[in-house]
């Protein structure tokens, strides 16, 4: 079965593997969000996320298409917890999207590699015991932990950037984020336009790093 491509995908213009980022969109996660963008870009991988999906479309179909169009996916379950805003509700989106990915991988072996990220070891065995026997990458909730675990996950990737390179890209993204947000008209750091610009900046930074 041919792997579907999104209309917004590169379609051969730029030869870059995609990675689906299944992460929480909350203010306490911003530094790790930038770390994922920086780290993946250093590996020459293009991050993509459900925040790129425009409103009004059938969201679930678009998310599944997005997952299918990616070579890799990273599922960060470190903040699968109760959202205290009324009515208090547990957050199911991330484990649900992980389930979709696992099903896609099972039905199409060898086309997709998925990785589960957590901040605490063994917590996943309680929150999602079906994953028993799966290696979970523990990033300890910090930026360097994300870089370390991306490097551990992507040992077979073509490019193997040093952590210092990821750190340099991360610092530049962090520094430029306020200007990028202003340019996008303010609002959430998780807006689609902000994400596109951060991703492009990270890619350009990675290219600059390798050329110096």
């Amino acid at each position: 079965m041919a792997r579907p491509r999104l209309p917004s995908a590169d379609n051969g213009v730029v030869d870059t593997p995609f990675a689906f980022l299944n992460i929480p969109y909350d203010t306490e996660f911003v530094s790790l969000y930038l770390a994922y963008i920086a780290g993946l870009s250093a590996f020459g991988i293009r991050p993509t996320a459900s925040l790129e999906i425009p409103g009004g479309d059938r969201r679930l179909d678009r998310i599944f298409t997005l997952i299918q169009s990616c070579r890799y996916s990273f599922h960060d379950l470190s903040r699968v917890q109760m959202d205290e805003r009324r009515p208090p509700t547990p957050r199911f989106n991330m484990p649900f999207e992980l389930g979709l990915t696992v099903a896609w991988d099972k039905l199409n072996p060898g086309t997709h590699s998925w990785f589960v990220m957590e901040s605490q070891s063994r917590r996943v065995l309680k929150s999602l015991s079906d994953l028993a026997g799966t290696d979970v990458q523990i990033h300890n909730g910090n930026v360097n932990g994300v870089f370390r675990e991306l490097a551990n996950s992507l040992v077979r990737a073509e490019r193997q950037p040093p952590v210092q390179e990821m750190q340099a890209i991360y610092r530049a993204l962090q520094q430029r984020l306020p200007a990028i947000q202003r340019q996008a008209g303010g609002g959430s750091v998780y807006g689609a336009r902000t994400f596109h610009e951060l991703r492009l900046l990270a890619r350009a930074l990675a290219r600059e790093q390798t050329s110096t």
Binding site: V13, A172, R176, Q183, E197, R199, L200, A204, L205
Partner: protein, 66 residues
Amino acid sequence: MRKPVLVEGPYDTIEALAEAGNISPERTRELVEMARESIANQARRTARSKARKAASNRGPTKAAKR
């Protein structure tokens, strides 16, 4: 010598990046410039800090000792 970046080959042009990134070519150019500036700034900072470290390892100059 620095290699030319983001201008060589069909994959690295501003237009290709802009098309792939859903961003206008003008804004793409700005972001690429931002990236170059950031890397240059970081390189300058690293060089300054290395120079400071080297100076502190050399100890006081002859003039200062007198």
